[in-house]
């Protein structure tokens, strides 16, 4: 298990994927965290000013709670979560057992379109991540 350290090259590749697939689409902020609440990387559209460290801690806790609930109802996992608000929404999706992709977006993007792009981004990230950590 070597997820604790990630190379500069890997991070740059992941950042490019996030920019191309999600930020360009109009997502306000994308964060990749691990299940312990650490931030792997964060990208935003240059306007949003979220407190990403607190966000990561809460998101990891949130996801872990939902995971425990899944086990209680006999599911192996709930691999994605979606929180809907008036102005902004949050979408959580599991990359693998240790990593979580979080997208924060406004009303101008449809959930379906976002999900399609999240799936593609995750596939690409897995390839980059697996290259050195597999």
């Amino acid at each position: 298990m070597n997820y604790g350290i990630v190379s500069q090259e890997q991070l740059e590749q992941i950042d490019t994927i996030l920019s191309e697939k999600l930020i360009k689409l109009g997502v306000d902020c994308v964060i990749i965290i691990d299940m312990a609440g650490n931030i792997i990387t964060a990208k935003d559209n240059g306007e949003s000013k979220y407190d990403v460290y607190s966000f990561a801690a809460l998101a990891a806790g949130n996801f872990a709670t939902v995971d425990a609930m899944a086990k209680l109802v006999g599911e192996a996992e709930f691999s994605l979560l979606f929180h809907k608000g008036q102005e902004s929404n949050i979408h959580f999706s599991k990359i693998d057992d240790e990593l979580l992709l979080i997208s924060m977006f406004g009303t101008e993007i449809s959930l379906g379109f976002l999900r399609l792009n999240v799936v593609e981004a995750i596939e690409q990230i897995r390839v980059v991540w697996g290259a050195n950590n597999g």
């Binding site: 604790g4 691990d34 312990a36 650490n38 931030i39 990387t41 607190s54 801690a57 425990a68």
Partner: protein, 201 residues
């Protein structure tokens, strides 16, 4: 497991305050939050019940400056102390790098301290960590109560109960007045950073 970002040169370190209910874990963090305001860029996050008890955790990110060009970001967490919340306590311990065990020096809490420390041992095992190996500092909190006539356990007895086998650094403290809160924090940060450096070398 701390996370090290080689691109931005940031190391994230997770330190968890653990201990029985009402021992003063949140009070420790609240003191740090007030005292070191200039090193803390965001608000303390507290997930608590209507009765002001910790429901899930408190979270306080803390900037420690640079070591060898790397920005050290300390993430302080507390666990909920109440017995019924062990499932959430376990979740908070995921990926922990260092632990502060806060013991309650009040006489009537003696057994609860021991039980809580034993549970910490079990919960760490679930993540394949060992209480004997992980950086750990023990704090005997509420020593100020002695002045108010509340019966408290002598430090020697607390040490015998909790630290006779572990033999880790320990402090008498009073989280409410701030006595030794910073000393406890400094000690756990230095032990944890040294342990991370060792793992990397």
């Amino acid at each position: 497991m701390s996370f090290i970002n080689l691109k931005d040169k940031v190391v994230q370190v997770k330190i968890v305050y653990y201990g029985p209910g009402r021992c003063g874990k949140t009070t420790n963090l609240e003191y740090v939050n007030r005292k070191f305001r200039n090193q803390i860029q965001s608000e303390m996050v507290s997930l608590k019940t209507h009765g002001d008890r910790t429901l899930f955790f408190d979270f306080l990110p803390f900037d420690m400056g640079k070591i060898k060009g790397y920005d050290i970001k300390i993430q302080l967490y507390t666990v909920p102390g109440q017995v019924k919340y062990n499932a959430t306590r376990k979740l908070v311990l995921k990926g922990v790098d260092g632990v502060v065990f806060v013991a309650d020096a009040m006489e009537k809490q003696r057994e609860k301290n021991i039980r809580s420390l034993n549970q910490l041992h079990e919960n760490l095992q679930a993540y394949k960590e060992s209480i004997f190996k992980i950086p750990l500092v023990i704090q005997y909190n509420k020593v100020d109560l002695k002045e108010h006539g509340v019966p408290i356990l002598p430090t020697e007895l607390l040490r015998k109960d909790l630290n006779s086998r572990l033999k880790v650094p320990d402090f008498e403290a009073s989280a409410i007045t701030g006595y030794n809160v910073a000393a406890t924090l400094k000690k756990i940060i230095s032990s944890t950073v040294v342990s991370i450096q060792k793992k990397l070398l």
